[in-house]
């Protein structure tokens, strides 16, 4: 059964079971692989993307739930790494293996859209993605820098 998805502003017609998790439709049918599979049970957050501006763990949501909504993946932030969050991430040389970082960045985007000036407590509550390499220390610094950059503040 075919259905349409709006991913990063582009409409894709998908010929798949609509109950397929959104993650796998994005990865295997739309062909965008920046969103990662980590646990399959919505725990680790590697699969975080936005549906209508809300961060969701796409491994545990059927694609049907995202029909006629706006889906944003890491590939939709910028084509050249120029989004303020990406710039901040690079400034602190944040990623190690990098596998969880797409999800981490998407959670950060949701946080900063809601709270442009987040406290550390806000960050703790909103960015609950798991990172095995232990990049948290730089993630936190990068989030604060990204908040400034998004407000046009240069450090």
């Amino acid at each position: 059964m075919a259905f349409d998805l709006n991913v990063n502003g582009t409409r894709h017609t998908i010929d798949a079971d609509p109950q397929t998790p959104l993650l796998w439709v994005i990865r295997e049918y739309v062909g965008l692989t920046g969103t990662k599979f980590g646990c399959g049970i919505g725990q680790c957050g590697a699969c975080t993307l936005h549906v209508d501006g809300q961060p969701i763990r796409s491994c545990s949501v059927p694609a049907a739930n995202a029909v006629s909504k706006r889906i944003l993946t890491i590939e939709g932030l910028s084509t050249d790494g120029s989004h303020p969050i990406q710039v901040a991430w690079k400034e602190f040389d944040t990623p190690q293996c990098g596998y969880c970082q797409s999800g981490m960045i998407m959670s950060t985007l949701a946080l900063l859209q809601k709270l442009p000036n987040p406290s550390n407590v806000d960050i703790d509550a909103a960015v609950t993605n798991a990172c095995r390499c232990g990049t948290y220390h730089r993630v936190r610094q990068a989030i604060h820098l990204a908040a400034d950059l998004m407000k046009g503040i240069r450090r």
Partner: protein, 777 residues
């Protein structure tokens, strides 16, 4: 047939049992390189002639550096390139790393000038620090082979230690040939030329050229005496030793990086697998007919227990794969397929309780006595005080974020493998053994790994994928484990127990120490941290290690046995200091100063610096405490070591909530760190890694199975547990480092335990601490 690795007859019968095997038309392997997407980093043939096997310089001055280790977050993509470019003297902004070809490594021998260490270790006054160049085992499991790229595995925090000589030499050889080519072109003595930032200058005439302009000529200009080329000692480094942002980072913030899981090749089908959840077990029967009609399903195939000869003697499980058009189809069909297992009863009888009891019982058996100095029994007989403690640590997995996966295409005379792999030379060997196709025809297209945390962090993913693809020749098969399957496919750090017993004199100083540790046979690092010497001075010292046999495949995992053993040792030092009524920092300092360890001054310096950084001794509010520990690898030896000390400031709320508030790190540089920024990142990462181990993580066994097999039952620390303050300072020392990618911050474990004791009065000696009631007051 025995040379085939796995029993050939058994394998054929398994393959014959494959139902509905299919071929989707012959897929020309030569297209592999044409399929390289922008974010992929595997090797490709260069458009211009290479200078040497490591270096290609394009006319536009772009320098491609072939990387021989695998980037898994530790920064080797950058540090490896820095070692080459230190000598090459090229423009760092034009450096583009790419993986070295494991296929060429099978076909070509290393240049003779890379084979021996030159310049007396460039330069260690003690003459130490040479890598194990003598052992040139073909498969690369041990030592450094003499195939083209020497050591391609990524393990033991040794990429810098082992690779430095030939990577610096590769850069130097290329630089010398670029200079020779320019000298030849201009008909001037080469000694009059200088190279810097990819520009060659002839000062007397003012002529200049660039590497890009001269590269083609340099590629045709051999060096007359490559064995005479020397590499720079650390005091001449200009690039190495500076903080460099990692070259793989930009593609990791856009989602562009192609990990193995992201590989797509034409005609590819997906495989989901289930292995017998009890190690050593196999498939008794399965019913493919029950799922044959499900959408996208193509076939099912059994695979045997991967030949232990290909998995370092470890016995994993046999299993069954379902192949479908998409992975989600394969996985959901597999979940619905009835499977019966053949489980060895002896293995199914294991559980954490009886395994733990067996380890404790092993402590009372003779064991292997590693050290027996002085007269331990006599010293205990006349002790003023005896302190005894038993500690334990659980099974721990690597649980890297990217679940195990590999894409394999087997055709009549060639194997292509797309994989993130810490041991490509071993995987190449496995592919040849399983398929019967020579290693020279095995092509690995290497990807960055989504985490490693132990050599071949993959377990038998490659072997499974090769067996499945070999049963579907002509069709690329992408095997992907579920997270639950990844917990079966990984190897574990062995569960461990220890009993430490000290005799103290009237002043509280130890006069005898008896250490017994136990882990299962095959566990990694069974002698670490206690062998040869006690580290802390004690005149009478006995150390033995003990083993028993369990069925869980154990292997390298970040920190190996040392992480457990440093927990035992440093926890016990805290207990002794408290028993003696002495300050744990000064107690350690005094006991190290009494030793004759070769690097004792560096150890004392680390302790002093960490204590000073932390404000050691200044008052803290109620509910907070500091604890210090020494971290060393090789500290007992006289060739190489890595030494650091950390002070951890920990709070415990009355409700029992632990917070690591602050970490002060004093870490040696040895002669020099290649990329101090990567070292800082590694230290930061290991702090939360061992925090996680200390507070939360444990795998238990029930009926022979790993119980916790996803991130709900096996919790991962998040950003809210990361310490708000981390201070790292380096100090220079006079030896080479052993590496620092896997055994730093082990002190978090003992420090949290001691802080809990200081704050709550409760002493816990079994990890993780979160299973205990930590409330107080």
């Amino acid at each position: 047939m025995s040379e085939q690795g796995i029993n050939r007859r058994e394998f054929l019968s398994v393959v014959a049992a494959a139902q509905g095997a299919f071929v989707l038309g012959f897929w020309a392997p030569s297209r592999a390189s044409a399929q390289k997407p922008p974010g992929a980093v595997w090797d490709e043939e260069s458009a211009v002639p290479e200078i040497n096997a490591w270096i290609v310089i394009s006319p536009d001055d772009t320098v491609t550096v072939r990387i021989t280790q695998t980037e898994l977050g530790q920064g080797v993509w950058t540090s490896n390139a820095m070692m080459v470019c230190e000598e090459l003297q090229c423009d760092w902004s034009k450096v583009r790393p790419q993986y070295a070809s494991a296929n060429r490594d099978a076909r070509e021998k290393a240049p003779a000038w890379t084979l021996n260490v030159m310049g007396n270790g460039a330069t260690d006054p003690k003459g130490g620090g040479e890598p194990g160049f003598g052992n040139r085992d073909r498969t690369g499991q041990q030592g450094i082979p003499d195939s083209l790229y020497r050591r391609m595995r990524t393990n033991a925090a040794s990429s810098v230690k082992d690779g430095r000589y030939y990577l610096q030499l590769a850069g130097a050889e290329a630089r010398e040939r670029l200079l020779l080519a320019a000298a030849e072109l201009w008909r001037v003595p080469v000694a009059e030329l200088a190279a810097k930032d990819s520009i060659i200058t002839h000062a007397p005439s003012g002529r200049t050229t660039t590497y890009g302009q001269i590269a083609d000529r340099a590629a045709r200009t051999p060096h007359p005496n490559p064995e005479k080329i020397t590499i720079k000692p650390p005091d001449q480094w200009t690039l190495m030793g500076t903080e460099r942002k990692n070259l793989d980072v930009p593609a990791k913030v856009t989602g562009e990086t192609v990990y193995a899981i992201d590989v797509r090749v034409p005609g590819m089908k997906w495989a989901a697998v289930k292995s017998c959840p009890v190690y050593g077990g196999d498939v008794k029967r399965y019913d493919f007919e029950a799922i044959r009609a499900l959408p996208g399903v193509r076939s099912a195939v059994r695979f045997p227990i991967p030949d232990p000869a290909l998995t370092r003697g470890r016995i994993f499980s046999g299993g069954v794969a379902v192949i479908a058009d998409t992975w989600h189809q394969a996985r959901t069909a597999l979940d619905r397929m009835p499977i019966e297992w053949e489980i060895p009863p002896a293995n199914a009888a294991f559980n954490t309780a009886n395994m733990s009891a067996a380890l404790v019982a092993a402590l009372d058996k003779p064991g292997r006595v590693r050290v027996d100095q002085g007269n331990v029994a006599a010293a205990f007989a006349s002790a003023a005080k005896i302190v005894e403690a038993a500690y334990s640590t659980p099974y721990l997995p690597r649980a890297r974020m990217e679940p195990g996966n590999a894409t394999v295409l087997v055709t009549a005379d060639r194997v292509d493998i797309w994989i993130g792999d810490q041991s490509p030379q071993e995987t190449r060997f496995s592919a040849a053994k399983i398929t019967g196709i020579r290693e020279e025809n095995v092509y690995l297209h290497l990807c960055h790994l989504g985490g490693g945390f132990g050599r071949n962090g993959n377990g038998p993913q490659a072997e499974q994928a090769i067996m499945i693809a070999n049963a579907h020749r002509g069709t690329p098969i992408h095997l992907l484990w579920t997270r639950e399957e990844d917990f079966i496919g990984t190897t574990y750090r062995a569960m461990g127990v220890a009993r430490l017993k000290a005799a103290l004199d009237a002043d509280g100083w130890p006069v005898a120490l008896d250490v017994r540790t136990a882990m299962q046979e095959g566990g990694f690092g069974p002698e670490s941290s206690f062998d040869v010497a006690s580290r802390y001075h004690v005149p009478n010292y006995r150390y033995s290690n003990h083993t028993t046999t369990f069925h869980v495949p154990v292997g390298t995992r970040r920190g190996i046995g040392q992480a457990a053993h440093e927990f035992y040792r440093e926890s016990f030092m805290n207990e002794l200091a408290h028993a003696a009524g002495r300050d744990p920092y000064r107690y350690r300092r005094e006991l190290i100063s009494r030793t004759s360890l070769p690097y004792k001054d560096d150890m004392i310096r680390a302790l002093d610096m960490a204590a000073e950084m932390s404000g050691w001794g200044t008052p803290l509010p109620v509910g907070k405490a500091r604890a210090i520990a020494l971290e060393e690898r090789g500290g007992e030896g006289n060739r190489m070591a890595t030494i650091s000390a950390m002070v951890h400031t920990v709070s415990v709320s009355r409700e029992g909530k632990v917070r690591l508030e602050r970490v002060d790190v004093a870490h040696e540089t040895g002669f020099g760190l290649v990329n101090p920024l990567s070292v800082k990142k590694q230290i930061e990462g290991q702090i939360i890694w061992f925090y996680n181990d200390a507070m939360h993580q444990a795998n238990t066994i029930q009926d022979g199975r790993i119980v916790e097999n996803n991130f709900k039952a096996f919790p991962l620390s998040r950003i809210d547990e990361d310490p708000p303050e981390i201070n790292i300072r380096f100090f220079k020392t006079g030896h080479w480092l052993l590496g620092m990618g896997h055994d730093r911050a082990t002190s978090v474990q003992s420090a949290i335990g001691d802080a809990i004791f200081q704050i709550t009065g409760k002493r816990f000696r079994d990890l993780p601490y979160s299973k205990h009631d930590l409330s107080w007051g």
